[in-house]
Symmetry: D2
Amino acid sequence: MSGNSTGNLFCVSAFGESHGPAIGGVIDGCPSEIMVDYDLIKRQLSARHNDPLAINKRREPDEVEFLSGIMDGKTTGTPVAFLIRNKDIETRDYPQEDSLLLKPSHGHFSYWKKYGVFDYRGGGRASARETACRVVAGCFAEMYLRQFNITTEAFTVQTGKIKSELPFDDCNSEQANENPLHCPDNAAAERMLSLLEETNRANDTVGCIVGCVIRNLPAGLGEPVFDKLSAELAKAMLSINAAKGFEYGSGFASAGKKGSELNDLFLSDFRTKTNFSGGIQAGISNGNPVYFSVAFKPLPSIGQDQPSINTNGNPGLLKAGNRHDICAVPRVLPVVEAMAAITIVDHLLRNNAYRTK
Amino acid sequence: MSGNSTGNLFCVSAFGESHGPAIGGVIDGCPSEIMVDYDLIKRQLSARHNDPLAINKRREPDEVEFLSGIMDGKTTGTPVAFLIRNKDIETRDYPQEDSLLLKPSHGHFSYWKKYGVFDYRGGGRASARETACRVVAGCFAEMYLRQFNITTEAFTVQTGKIKSELPFDDCNSEQANENPLHCPDNAAAERMLSLLEETNRANDTVGCIVGCVIRNLPAGLGEPVFDKLSAELAKAMLSINAAKGFEYGSGFASAGKKGSELNDLFLSDFRTKTNFSGGIQAGISNGNPVYFSVAFKPLPSIGQDQPSINTNGNPGLLKAGNRHDICAVPRVLPVVEAMAAITIVDHLLRNNAYRTK
Amino acid sequence: MSGNSTGNLFCVSAFGESHGPAIGGVIDGCPSEIMVDYDLIKRQLSARHNDPLAINKRREPDEVEFLSGIMDGKTTGTPVAFLIRNKDIETRDYPQEDSLLLKPSHGHFSYWKKYGVFDYRGGGRASARETACRVVAGCFAEMYLRQFNITTEAFTVQTGKIKSELPFDDCNSEQANENPLHCPDNAAAERMLSLLEETNRANDTVGCIVGCVIRNLPAGLGEPVFDKLSAELAKAMLSINAAKGFEYGSGFASAGKKGSELNDLFLSDFRTKTNFSGGIQAGISNGNPVYFSVAFKPLPSIGQDQPSINTNGNPGLLKAGNRHDICAVPRVLPVVEAMAAITIVDHLLRNNAYRTK
Amino acid sequence: MSGNSTGNLFCVSAFGESHGPAIGGVIDGCPSEIMVDYDLIKRQLSARHNDPLAINKRREPDEVEFLSGIMDGKTTGTPVAFLIRNKDIETRDYPQEDSLLLKPSHGHFSYWKKYGVFDYRGGGRASARETACRVVAGCFAEMYLRQFNITTEAFTVQTGKIKSELPFDDCNSEQANENPLHCPDNAAAERMLSLLEETNRANDTVGCIVGCVIRNLPAGLGEPVFDKLSAELAKAMLSINAAKGFEYGSGFASAGKKGSELNDLFLSDFRTKTNFSGGIQAGISNGNPVYFSVAFKPLPSIGQDQPSINTNGNPGLLKAGNRHDICAVPRVLPVVEAMAAITIVDHLLRNNAYRTK
């Protein structure tokens, strides 16, 4: 209820501040007897550290310590708790005397109004650092989905104004693996990387759009009315730092279309000829691939001085910090995959509950 | 958990099928001593019946019966239950022999796979008829918000390819009231109405985008990480029938922007010069107006025959029904307002809980 | 969250005041394709009207109207909503001038402090009338449990100081059916009935204890730590009006026993020789019968004048009302069965969720 | 939903096995700006280690490490996560060849049936070790309650057949502090201690009853119908290991009483002359002290060999372990206090939510 938990049956509770002792999480409702794939966790955390411009050279990989819920390499059905120590804290990035200077388009002000206090040491709970915990929890969801061959894969589809125009059907893992942005269109990826370099030189940041495809999802997942699968995916995606928009299937472009254009006619095997529905009909999966896009704003920590105000209302100058990402991609890709997997597992379990025959 | 409830503290549970005896809902957690404004309920339900082309002449207004939770014209703090009888049922719109023919881009197939059964009498639980209950519940939320002067107002901002280009700041109720689409741009509204007429003549439907502004929201609403206000609004909006996308603040356009362009610098009163954040920072309201957009696909019930398949996989021809809406707007406007109000009240109550000083 | 809903997956939301238009409920999460047994509902509601002393002659049976979630006599998986009109309201039992006189050991005072208002027309939401809705919802739970042959049966085991000394194993339906208190010990039942008559003549009421046995429950139901099956049953039972205590298995008598006496040793088929555990071990069912007891206080509406105070703190005399029950039994028996069934179904569904193999 | 979380607004998620790396918890919804009283935590954890017979000499105190949610000695409003390392693990208490022998009246069998696996290393998640996390979380609840002067105090009121006959009103902290069982009746305490010694010599264990008083609770806490304060306390108490029964106010003895005896008449200040209601009327606190009792069975780990069966159904002899407690008291006292405090804070926050005036 206080925002740090997600999921009803596969329930992830996360904790931790960027500049506190540790971040971590508890998965309550992880089914038992899942073989833990530690390599997957390492791989996804490392993807979250992916730094194609090699800007953050000192960054050490996150190390996860598991505290419970695993025995003999398998889950036991009891809560899986884990933590990641914050080793690489530079609490001096922003000098003490500026500690109460409000960073534009950051969470400091809104946290301060909500709680009466904010974490002047760093981004606190609003820091994107917390997404590492989503990635770890997401790996457990992905391990569970494997037995059903269900996959969640995220791609970079836009960076700045540069777009991959490939339709979702043609988003191909192998091709995307050829470039560090995991963009299905290698030519676009090259131009995106140039844009990132240029943006870095300008001490600026840039926005992006991530696409995600969920394959092999059975029909029947999602709940009617308020907990539609599309609504739950929207919430999951908008909960990621810097997310500004979500669309699935024909998305915003639907507004300009006619019903006769967008209706998905059935094939004789109950699949549909087209998939403008994005695999979800009336909020419930229909057996076709689910696909959606998430828009992320340019990260607000830019390498430029910015005028701001202090918590007492007086003006001040926020000096540029010395360490930042240029764009949410590619680091956000495993986070999108994790949130998709967590959402899907929760709905698989919800659906299981009622299938008693 | 089964999708027919929303909200944690202001909790709305809804029920009912389009062709069953009644639809209705229960609001558990409606604060006590709110004066019930029956006129508001009538007005919003009537807005949900708004039919600018006068296509559905026989449609009678919905009448709400209240069963509990109100005494002497005020809420008592106990559950407010209400029902609306389905008076105007034509179970013969689709003849019995076609009853198991699957309607393209409708919920029949996915409900069938989920529950083993679907409501062949009509749209069942997936019918947009259920949104009347959202509107009634939303009115109670709006009555509560009044004491804080908080308003939720939805506008038509796009129909087909015709857009109102007015920024959210200039979306003006009085102007919007001059046209039946509640579009803030009267010139655009005129062209939209022509498009609707033309689409009607073509026995087709068309998509749209609805914008919504929440005014006078205090800072501090929304919960960190998973229950960000933006995430909760996204879920609420994507839960509405035919919704395909959600964006807030700078939205999808953020992808093409730089951080130096989008950062909202503070004014000395803690408001911000610009409002690309859409009134929400790190998932928590920051005291600026909240605004967002929702895209709706063209309604899938078109006035044209469509090839389809039967539940046994055999082909069949779905004959055009004789009664449908051309576009989600203007009928969906009070539904968007209702879902916004319900979401905001829930977060106001959640925030109240922790403010004990 | 506001107390009028119970269950996580089989979720019952109830509403209604004793002197309002109607009471009712919504079951969200009722599995689909359950054949609705309307006779069972009638029988259980009639058991809730059971009046062995024939005191309330005018009392009409409750009639349930179903509003949704049922088609062709079977559940559809969507919410089952129902209502019972309050036909037999005598708002004049307590004259208007006494309306704000506080009834001792009733909910008026605590509701007033909570909500700023209380229902002076009758018992409001705190009236035992609401238990009719529990019974209706419980019948749907019982219909579901039938396919697993699981039964919940409640017995009168104590009335005043008169006890049935039969152990739970010997509680026998046929024997209990021979007396109107559904007491497994017919000799005790006879004395109990005399006590009820005597208490009635004295214009008083008397307390009681109800025992309940759940048979054929598989092992593995209940969740560890906070949602133990025993804890959930305790909550369900203490939620019934006038309940004052709960114990299961060896119960309060355990305090006076040694570990070597109470440990349940295993038989070779994994059942246990004794069942002091009451079928629940570490909060999770172990395949033996579950049994528990619930204590109910004497009903506070007595046929005697009582001194009290008004809401302004001034003294007043509360005149004896003309209509009351002498004891919670036998009317509470179907309520105990309903709450047991609802709790068990919720845990069956929760357990189903994780069993994916 | 999977049993390892409790509370709606003050939500505690716990994790950890007795023989795993660590146990711990996350409090999501701890109000901000509470001064953390580390001494209280130490004191309550040490009370949970209270060992009046000095049986477990090697036992080291639990050390809590806080991972998040605290800054400058105060809570920040974000999740408070903590862990306690399992330092003192003797995985060899039960030799490997016996590892699959089922312990009578322990959770191994029911966990095995639920999850397909059980923790053969020790008590796993079913071990009373997890109650240390309840105590830590409970301390944060107690810190919050202090500002309202609300206290939760637990007493030993029965051990074996030896009872303190003091009414709850006369349960006095100072007197109780004079004996290591925190029994309000020092003469009874002396006989209880003798019984414990005698039981220890007999390599046996004994049951007990704990009483608890909540003082200075305002009227209006608790929710109607299903989430009555009494029902929530019952659930909280029955969730504690080895708990077998709960009663509040006049409790089980109510069964033998008349309504005219038990009705609590009002005083002119709205308190009541008597308090048979136990401070809760219709499930909502009425401003009088809340009191209740919890029965605990004799702990099932006895110092005697016991016949049992293996997971393959073959008989085996379970050898007596070398380390156990004789009785749930006094160690369970801080656990009862913690669960009471957690329950009360959750209801205070729930009640706050709706008080907007």
